[in-house]
């Protein structure tokens, strides 16, 4: 049975914090970005997706209950509504916390026929984890993803904002080495990039 059918088991769902437990964490920068976003749309509800991207950055790459609650609080929507949106989209990390770098290996059609599964196997062995799991040191999370739409470079990996392909065992070794040496989390970097391209230069600054 495919494992994705079991996704979102009730025990793993982030709990909605009570109002008195709310501890708002958004930085001034984040609030300024939200302000800019409000001006793009006629209502605040439309800011749920961009708002969740901000939260994913502010909360270290993972949308836990507090993160979702904070988005709901700023946008004046219910927790359930925002949670419902967050869990629909695969790029919001709601199911479990992720490592510093997320390695997303495409095994979809073009990549499949260009040898993505052996690549995925190699990654699993090398990192000692399965799909959806994080290495013990918390550095890498491995994910299998659908077509990244860079099939001319199959087999393709995505790490943070960048694509890598075509990859083989050697280039993967080098890539992992580089990532290990990198201080910043590519997961947070990516969320930041996504926020930035939407807000553009902030008018208030």
């Amino acid at each position: 049975m495919s494992d994705f059918l079991q996704l979102g088991s009730p025990n793993e769902r982030p709990r909605a914090p009570r109002l008195d437990e709310l501890d708002l964490k958004f930085s001034d920068q984040a609030l300024a970005e939200l302000d800019e976003l409000y001006s793009h749309y006629p209502d605040k509800k439309s800011c749920i997706l961009p708002g969740l991207w901000i939260a994913q950055r502010e909360y270290g790459g993972y949308l836990n209950g507090e993160a979702i609650a904070e988005v709901a609080y700023h946008l004046k929507r219910s927790y359930a509504e925002v949670e419902g949106v967050a869990t629909f989209y695969s790029m919001y990390n709601t199911v479990h916390a992720v490592g510093k770098h997320m390695i997303e290996v495409c095994t979809c059609l073009s990549c499949q026929v260009c040898g993505a599964y052996p690549v995925a196997e190699y990654l699993k062995k090398k990192l000692g984890v399965g799909f959806g799991e994080t290495t013990e040191d918390g550095v890498f999370t491995l994910h299998e993803v659908e077509c990244l739409n860079a099939c001319d470079r199959a087999p393709v990996l995505q790490v943070g904002s960048s694509y890598h392909g075509p990859v083989d065992e050697k280039s993967i070794d080098a890539l992992l080495e580089n990532l290990r040496a990198q201080e910043e989390s590519t997961v947070i970097q990516m969320a930041n990039d996504i926020v930035k391209v939407q807000t553009g230069p902030l008018k208030s600054k």
């Binding site: 059609l109 073009s110 499949q112 040898g115 077509c147 904002s161």
Partner: protein, 435 residues
């Protein structure tokens, strides 16, 4: 026919990604012209060009443009670009956004002028950060030069352009789901015409909304510049497909990449452009993205790339994601992965698609695991026929077609796999996740 570079003519030129370089190559001539044109004249130009939607469905573009109210009734008008390229095998929009961002910005601005748009949204899939950055830079430059924002080119008309990033959902490529997602909801499709008004009457926030694909908008500056009459001479050999189309070629070819061709080019010529087959003879091709029916080598030999022409080989142009497969490819494993994709991406709104895609996947899973049962092939066809035409949006149909087509074109491979518990193609192990 050889490659015909219209949209991609300057794609290697990095200067073309800046306003200056873009203008040197004739950029923004079209907008300058459009500013002086009547709104209807722009739409008529698009009509004369014969341009059809490049996202997959091939719907005549001008009908959408013409469908927005001619007189504003107190509501804003929106122009949306569907840049949620997710169809497996397609990567043309990505290249267009990364390398020719101004074409899209200019095309959307013209669309805004023609339809009295107040604001535009480019909905980009979350993974495409490089594309989004290129567009961001282009939009910022355009604002600074007075080509976006208030009183564009002194015309007295305003147009704002925003980027909205997706967050990982194939379903959002469907236009009504995309609009849901833009409005901050789960990316699920909405009721469609005739059961609900067309988006051109009531789309985003119940306002009239024009929604087109990236490639469609990028064609617009050329149409306005050189005229619809000129544009429709491209592809004149085909029944009803005009202009150029970018095909994203991937799979077992020597030079995978995007190739822009005139409609009427043959699939064989496209294969030649992309350097021919790698690692073995041609066995099959999925010509227009994972949703379209697969065809075998014989059909490839006579396939002509055009919306109507492709139906002669029972397939489609689709989004232009062309995957060539060589003789060592196990079609059953390939279809198993296709089924997995759709099961994964079904949004869960309607039962035929939500349950049907999972059923198909489970049957395919047991076949590739070597536990196929006699009658599985027929069972798959039965499930396909229950999904096709019965799902809420096109995703269900798109999930059923490739499976049904593969069984029709390569029945012996399915029979062999089911009867023997293994593939009749030697190298199929690599195509699967080794347990």
């Amino acid at each position: 026919m050889a490659e015909y570079k219209l949209l991609l003519e300057h794609s290697d030129d990095t200067a073309y990604r800046t306003l200056d370089g873009y203008r040197k190559k004739g950029g923004y001539k079209a907008l300058e012209k459009a500013v002086k044109m009547e709104r209807q004249a722009i739409i008529d130009e698009v009509k004369a060009s014969g341009l059809r939607g490049r996202g997959g469905a091939g719907f005549p573009t001008w009908i959408k443009w013409n469908g927005l109210p001619k007189e504003k009734v107190g509501k804003k008008h929106y122009v949306v670009c569907n840049a949620d390229e997710g169809e497996p095998g397609t990567f043309k929009d990505k290249q267009l956004m990364e390398e020719t961002p101004f074409l899209l910005v200019e095309g959307m601005t013209i669309a805004g002028f023609a339809t009295q748009g107040d604001a535009g949204f480019i909905y980009i899939r979350g993974e495409f950060i490089d594309a989004a950055k290129a567009l961001r830079a282009a939009i910022d430059e355009a604002y600074a030069a007075g080509l976006l924002g208030k009183n564009i080119l002194g015309s007295g008309r305003d147009f704002d352009l925003y980027i909205h990033m997706g967050a990982g959902s194939y379903e959002c490529g469907e236009e009504s789901a995309l609009m849901s997602s833009l409005m901050g909801e789960r990316g699920m499709p909405r009721l469609k015409f005739p059961h609900a008004p067309l988006p051109t009457i009531s789309g985003l926030w119940d306002s009239p909304t024009l929604i087109n694909n990236v490639e469609t908008y990028t064609c617009v500056p050329f149409i306005v510049n050189k005229g619809g009459e000129w544009y429709q001479t491209l592809g004149a050999a085909t029944k009803n497909s005009r202009g150029t189309k970018i095909f994203s070629v991937s799979g077992h070819v020597n030079k995978p990449g995007n190739y822009e061709i005139e409609f009427g080019t043959t699939l064989n010529e496209l294969l030649e452009m992309s350097g021919g087959m790698k690692g073995g003879k041609l066995k099959a091709c999925v010509p227009g993205g994972s949703s379209v029916p697969i065809i075998d080598a014989e059909m490839c030999g006579r396939a002509v790339l055009g919306y109507e022409e492709m139906s002669d080989v029972k397939s489609m142009v689709g989004s232009g994601g062309c995957m060539f497969l060589n003789e060592h490819t196990c079609i059953v494993s390939f279809i198993w992965r296709t089924a997995m994709f759709y099961a994964q991406e079904s949004c869960g709104k309607c039962t035929p698609c939500r349950e049907g895609t999972k059923w198909m996947l489970q049957i395919m899973e047991r076949i590739v695991a070597g536990n196929g049962q006699p009658g599985d092939k027929e069972l798959l066809l039965e499930v396909c026929s229950q999904i096709d035409g019965r799902s809420f949006c096109g995703l269900g149909d798109a999930a059923a077609w490739p499976v049904a087509a593969a069984i029709r074109v390569f029945p012996e491979e399915f029979d062999y796999f089911i009867a023997n518990g293994k593939s009749m193609v030697k190298s199929s192990k690599d195509l699967m996740l080794v347990p």
